[in-house]
């Protein structure tokens, strides 16, 4: 392998090794019986403000984010910056809605969204819909984290196809699987700290050094073609890129916390205060994300996509190669090793949390609900550990044998699917008004419509909604969740009238939702 960047690879391996060790050692951190599901799957619910900050940040800022957002800026320009208003919206959501969820889940020992919906609405089928949606939406997301690792491994010079090139990915996978199995959520929580320090360091250095190398921001933005510099002004009779941009930010924000791994990160916090404090502190990550989007423009200005030494990388990974190429071009090998380790580790953390979250869902809301009603604590934890392994294995197989673009398309669909759980989960935190069967109908309609609309637009994110002579292009997820809500709202009085007149099942009381 003549092209391997040995210095960078060496540092990468060392940092990865440290982190692997940390993942295993984490089992003894804030010691608990890891044969209990809430210890394995929620870290014993003992993470204070700072650890929660790292963990939830690790959910929001994944390796895929670091690769894909700049890639989008590089390819499509200004629209990639939707990531910034997206982050502006998520934190109040966390502050208001998810604090309530934290309290009620804490009070009743709920570990998953499925648990909450089951308790709140007393309907195991609605809970199953939420559970299955959660698991199915998470899988492509895990696969895409592995893609993030694949890209940096490729950028280190370990290229080509076949077993040799896949070996490092397999090694990373084995490490990930092993420490998740042994330490549960404590593993990614401890590693998240290292990851975030590395990411911040890399981003800060890069945002200062690269613009200096390129001659200043004025020069960088001057290199961006005019049609990519700003959002295209909408033509007559359409809200064009404006509504597309706003709905993309809104829909992504709503969807984020509905993903199982977000809820897992949140529920592992030790108090509602930790959640609220985090809502004010997490925006620090947003600034980093905004800066990362600018990296895509740095790539354009530096012209790395046109340089011959990166041609192979761009050919293999497309615009996902933008950030690695930029880093290789702008920094000495040792810093590249650190930066790539940051991205690679940045894949391990969310992949671990996502697999744990999916495992929690299966164990509590499928296995315990439908297969074996009375598992012992130890059995529960064992099932979860195995499922987390299977889920990761499935993602690995997918990445190794299926073209990446399918993973991306599935992830897009996953966003549309997961947002359909908004009515029972997010609105359920505020009101019991909806009839549980009406919610299930709304979920079904939203999921079906969303999938159809996405397929009809060739799996792009925007659906051109036509009302009369006006077009309102918008993120499919937003339109379908509105449809979902409308269906649920209309059917609620209908189904209530048809029901037996008993008071609606609800394990929770109003006081459970706040301090």
């Amino acid at each position: 392998m003549p092209d391997v960047n040995w210095i960078a690879l060496g540092i990468f391996v060392v940092l990865f090794g440290c982190v692997a060790w940390l993942g295993f050692a984490a089992a003894r951190w804030r010691k608990g019986d890891l044969d209990q599901l809430h210890e394995w799957g929620l870290g014993g619910r003992r993470f204070g403000t700072l650890i929660t900050w790292f963990l939830v940040g690790g959910d929001v800022y994944t390796a895929y984010t670091f690769i894909a957002v700049p890639a989008l800026a590089f390819g499509a320009g200004a629209v990639a910056f939707f990531a910034v208003p997206y982050t502006i919206i998520i934190y109040p959501l966390l502050f208001l809605v998810f604090r309530r969820l934290w309290h009620v889940c804490h009070k009743h020992g709920y570990i998953t969204a499925g648990d909450f919906v089951r308790g709140r609405f007393g309907n195991r089928w609605l809970a199953l819909a939420v559970t299955v949606t959660g698991i199915v939406a998470t899988m492509p997301y895990i696969a895409l984290q592995l893609v993030g690792i694949q890209v940096v491994i490729g950028a280190l010079g370990i290229s080509g196809t076949g077993m040799g090139a896949d070996l490092p990915l397999l090694a990373a996978f084995v490490v990930l699987a092993a420490f998740t199995y042994s330490s549960g959520l404590r593993a990614p929580a401890s590693i998240a700290i290292v990851k975030d320090l590395l990411i911040y360091a890399t981003a800060l250095v890069a945002i200062i050094v690269i613009p200096i190398e390129l001659g200043g921001f004025g020069k960088i933005f001057a290199a961006v073609p005019a049609n990519k510099l700003l959002l295209a002004v909408p033509g007559p009779n359409t809200t064009g890129a404006y509504s597309g941009y706003a709905t993309l930010a809104l829909g992504s924000a709503l969807a984020l916390f509905l993903y199982p791994h977000s809820l897992t990160g949140i529920l592992s916090a030790s108090s509602g205060h930790a959640i609220r404090r985090n809502a004010a502190m997490l925006p620090a990550y947003s600034v980093v994300l905004g800066l990362l989007a600018l990296f895509g423009f740095f790539v354009i200005a530096a012209g790395v996509d046109k340089l011959p030494e990166y041609a192979a990388g761009f050919k293999q990974f497309g615009s996902n190669f933008a950030v690695p190429a930029l880093l290789l071009h702008s920094f000495p090998s040792w810093f590249v090793g650190i930066a790539f380790a940051a991205i690679g580790i940045g894949a391990l953390v969310p992949a671990a949390i996502m697999s744990i979250a999916a495992a929690n869902l299966y164990t509590r809301n499928i296995h315990r609900e439908f297969i074996n009603g009375n598992p012992t604590a130890k059995q529960e934890a064992q099932i979860a550990k195995r499922v987390s392994l299977i889920v990761k294995g499935g993602a690995l197989v997918f990445i190794l044998f299926v073209p990446t673009k399918y993973a991306i398309e599935l992830q897009l669909l996953g966003g549309i699917w997961i947002i359909q759980t908004l009515p029972p989960v997010m609105l359920g935190a505020y009101t019991r008004w909806f009839n549980s069967w009406a919610l299930l109908a709304g979920w079904a309609v939203g999921t079906f419509a969303g999938t159809t609309m996405a397929v009809a637009t060739n799996l792009t994110t925007t659906f051109p909604l036509v009302v009369g002579s006006h077009t309102f292009p918008g993120y499919t997820a937003v339109y379908t969740v509105m449809l979902n809500l409308a269906v649920a709202a209309v059917l609620t009085p209908v189904f209530n009238a048809m029901s037996s007149g008993r008071p609606p099942a609800d394990e929770t009381v109003a006081a459970d939702y706040h301090v």
Partner: protein, 68 residues
């Protein structure tokens, strides 16, 4: 009104800060322009980044103002 306790779990006027935060963030026509630039960065970019910081401040204000 400053420091007035909100009802448990109810609305607080401080939450209006969040409404402002959302409204500005989700209104692209307002910030979709190049001028004025800041150290060479077009308005579209630096304004949204600035708005992140403003939003964090708003959230911190709401947190302290509505603390139980």
């Amino acid at each position: 009104m400053i420091g007035a306790q909100k009802k448990r779990g109810g609305w607080s006027w401080w939450y209006l800060l969040f409404v402002i935060q959302f409204a500005v963030a989700l209104w692209p026509p307002f910030y979709n322009r190049v001028e004025p630039t800041l150290i060479g960065i077009p308005f579209f970019y630096w304004f949204q980044l600035l708005w992140v910081i403003v939003s964090a401040v708003f959230t911190a204000i709401v947190y302290f103002a509505t603390s139980d």
